[in-house]
Symmetry: D2
Subunit: 355 residues, 4 copies
């Protein structure tokens, strides 16, 4: 690895998504972690002391000994980080992320706080990389030396790449999305074991609204006025299931022109990321994998496809009501959270000419 790596920070590093960021940044070809932040309770301790490490790969040695900084713009800016990956709760993000951008630190945020701001890109590099140009609007309007970019909700993330492939090919007008979401999506401690043992919970606060709105921005057209939301009507019904990682989505959809399962599979399998983002370190290879077995995708068997960055699709078949149905699986804390923020950071680094 050539030396001049880009110094980065991880905000909210002790939580579930923060841990995934630390894991994914270990050995990253471009980024070098110079700061990890946590809550007031964690600050001052080493990362090894402050984090209950829940992943099955070892806590990287470089991270173990880093001191946990308080989550303030001043502390992060002082660390020398040029880019911060944010795994903060929305309420904290709302305070800290603008302060960081104002202080000249770019922010790639997994938080929902700013996703709907007209001048903040909601970005998946394999779907809408051109939306990154919104950072110029954002800096101009807000007078910041840096800017905030966001990645979508974990369930939205799984939905959008297949939706993009089908929308480009056939024009999707409506989609009914039922999710079966993993425990890690709720963070740690998150869901009590007694609440979910031998059980399913058909509710996650605020989640359905995100899934019904965010894909419209991601698939929207960017023009001088900003992003025009895509004209797709979505309905979401969400469920928490006793699975550690991997969100499964059961999707029925209507297209502007009739489409056979074979055509749909072909369009999904043929989907390629735009050329400008096709060779980033985190670009999924492939972006979409279409499985032909009758009983796939499954969370435990398919979530690590493409190191957790590939979206796996299966059971593409006719839907008597809406026309087409399929099952989608995406790793919620990798592609749907930490990996999504990191991938955005890579695209930003290239866009800014850093890498």
């Amino acid at each position: 690895m050539p030396t001049p790596a880009i110094p980065v920070a991880v905000l909210g590093a002790t939580g579930m998504v923060g841990q995934r960021l630390v894991q994914l940044l270990d050995g990253h070809p471009w980024f070098r972690v110079v700061a990890l932040t946590g809550s007031e309770r964690s600050a001052g301790r080493t990362y090894a002391e402050a984090a209950t490490w829940l992943l099955d790969t070892p806590l990287p040695a470089w991270a173990a000994s880093l001191p946990v900084l308080p989550t303030t713009a001043a502390a992060v800016a002082q660390s020398g980080a040029r880019l911060a990956f944010s795994a903060l709760p929305a309420s904290v993000a709302r305070q800290v992320e603008p302060a960081l951008a104002a202080a000249g630190v770019w922010v790639c945020s997994n938080a929902s706080a700013f996703r709907r701001e007209p001048d903040v890109p909601l970005l998946m590099p394999e779907v809408n990389p051109q939306h990154i140009r919104l950072v110029e609007t954002q800096r101009a309007r807000r007078g910041w030396p840096a800017a905030i970019i966001t990645n979508p909700n974990c369930s939205t993330t799984g939905l959008v790449a297949p939706l993009k492939a089908l929308h480009d090919a056939f024009g999707v007008t409506h989609a009914v999305v039922v999710t079966l979401q993993a425990l890690s999506g709720a963070g740690y401690p998150g869901v009590p074991a007694l609440a979910i043992a031998d059980n399913v919970i058909p509710y996650i606060a605020n989640e359905e609204d995100k899934i019904e709105w965010e894909p419209r921005k991601l698939l929207g057209m960017l023009d001088d006025e900003g992003v025009r939301l895509a004209d797709i009507t979505l309905s979401a019904s969400v469920h928490r299931v006793p699975v550690t990682d991997g969100h499964l989505l059961s999707v029925s959809l209507r297209t502007a022109r009739p489409v056979s399962p074979a055509e749909a599979r072909e369009a999904l399998a043929a989907y390629a990321p735009p050329p400008e983002t096709a060779d980033l370190p985190s670009t999924p290879r492939p972006v979409l994998l279409v499985r032909e077995e009758p009983d796939r995708p499954q969370p435990r068997l398919d979530r690590l496809t493409g190191r957790g960055m590939t979206t796996v699709v299966g059971r593409v078949r006719p839907d008597p009501v809406l026309g087409l149905k399929l099952e989608i699986l995406s790793h919620n804390t990798v592609r749907g959270a930490a990996g999504g923020a990191l991938y955005n950071g890579e695209w930003l680094a290239r866009f800014l000419g850093w890498a």
Copy 2:
């Protein structure tokens, strides 16, 4: 309990649904079990020896010592049973159930073998009790002294009572149904633990087709020609989840006339069984329970409502695509299988003037 109880048999008594039948028949006010049948491997042993009892109530003493009979019409007829509850696999049911009816033993079957026969009632007493009159057509056409009646698939069962309430009130035209089904639906041994641990399987063989067809017969009109299928288009996507009992259904539907969630809740809560079946021993009390909490129904918390016979509905809310959506929970081996067959048997006994 007055003495002259009706002698009954349980066919396929050692399996999951057979065990539930034995459990539910324990202390039944009308029925007395005189025969339990099993596979060739089980026949000749006592029920206690032959069955791996998996329920958390004790194996009833009367059942423990009963010899397991071979599953043949002759053995059952000889036992004196006037009515047989069948928990047989479809392939065995196809052979044995007609032979029983021909031998004068009425059959209440949980098997799928004859559900689509035009002269066989597919019956839920709280939904379409009048369909029982098909047994007259059946006997006349086939020349049998008795007849076969069937109850629907376990997922269909959960769907149909709420669908009936909404159909009566607003005219349902389309429904997209996504299921999260319990392990017990696959029988025993059924799903291997390694296949479902930390996992969801988005497939159950032949299940989607049943859910898309059976409700149309149950909600159909019986006239001199038989049952005219209801004009509802259904789409089903099925999933096995790591839950022991209780099928959860996530349903989006379109109605002939617009309906608000409040109206829908009212129609669901007001649903009453027809008077002729309202006081059978197994009639659910209530048939439908509408819960108002944002996160219900849940399998572990709600499956035993009304001793497992009540269908629990929640999250009734607008659906941006189809108009209305809701979550439904039903106990798959009680209301959806053993309890359904038993309830049919009670209605049959009353219809025949036995009780």
Copy 3:
């Protein structure tokens, strides 16, 4: 039910053990609940509002509408309760329980706070009912009109009845106890789902020490000096497993005189509660159930034996190192917590001549 029921309170009623107390007190022949207490956050709301009801039987109507009182001696005394069942955390119990006894309200506590006090009975009515006489010492020494009695830790509870049967018959000198404990033992929210999914945790804070000490008091001799601890050496190793209810104990033990598995099974099966407590409403029937199958007891199948009050024993066999080994199952929130406190309350009510 004859009218003059004894007015009782449940302290800490919104938690896991508190909910079990409410469930078990529903329809109790002697006790009538007049007060439910909770944390400051809960006080003032109705019980239905304050408690996240996690049991699969419905929340009793009488409890739903009761206001939750603050957990203070004044509030409870004012409610008219003569007896309080305490499901409080130890730290709260340490403050409130003495104040209640001083105010004339008897306390049957599930908390660990006072179990080791020399003048506080640690009581299981089927094991050491005579220890209840310690309340006289306690009242005399402390000058209280009432007193505190305690039931043991949930794992201790499962261990002690079989240990008593074997100790009476053969003299147990050593026991190595390895536990596999259910989630409900940690209360609610308790163990995070992500911590225990696809996992076992070989640690529960302070638990091993309780299991190694408490049986010695329960099996000890009461004389004028107090309880002389039984001369048994215990070793405990505890584990949390992904099971909702039911603690399983794997026990190896050494006896003063050699004992065959057959003799041990006989002694266990013959164990009868002392005559003075044999007919209390909560007396387990039987106290011990010895199962002969090679693979029992199992938590899901056996925990409800005797409505959750029976201790189930199996796999009684030779131990090459210590002499004898066996498996024990006990329902941790029924016999091991709420049911244990209730059973103590019944014995106390009889002892005081109230019932």
Copy 4:
């Protein structure tokens, strides 16, 4: 990788352990798979068709297209394999493995069939590599050109390296071992989900006997008469728990001379494999890892330590009954099965001068 790789076969390749062997042999520096065998039902199909691949890494392409051979000595010998890794059931192994050795194919077997034969090595290269010399006795006595070597039962495997470290240092005389074993130990389909959901099963057929006997051979002394069993008395109590991979052992033990937890930890941490096996490709690095946290090892968090070959030890503390207790975790299908056979194969290849 240099070309002249050693051609090997995997017997019983479609099962759980067979799949792990295929996974671990992918990219192996010495071995090249030339034959995969299966049951009669599988033979003739490709491996991709015949195996229900259950691992979360992709099925290697080279394996997918290999035809599954029948499990016969003739078919394997004809494939050119010089060494066969056997994941066969004991009953099949008993027939096929001797025929293979007679046909000149060396066998590294995971099956229990021949572990107790006096002239068959029961081998863990990091514990008793010198026992490999038994193959000379075996060949001489049986007149075979090749020989069979075996690795121990999966639970025995986890126990033996820590036991060896402590036995060398302090002389272990007695051990009480309670296991919490993962589902994958039962193979596929193995344990039905309904049997283990929300449950623990305190029984695995024949397992306790293996754990009580096999360590004595592994830790025994090899002399001209064969292996003299180590003079250690063991007691095992086994449990199946709802965990996918990773056997946890709770062990209490007595040593010839008193030992403090600190001394024990030091002896465990210092344990090094014998020099002749220290640099084999599968040698665990480290052999033993001693964790200091109060709540480790845990199956989900620790099973992949050292790519699944390291044994993780924790909670080393005094045992009031036997002197010392600790918790041990080992990956049952990697170190305890497929990885164990492979590691034995590497040691054999070096012993025979092949590598």
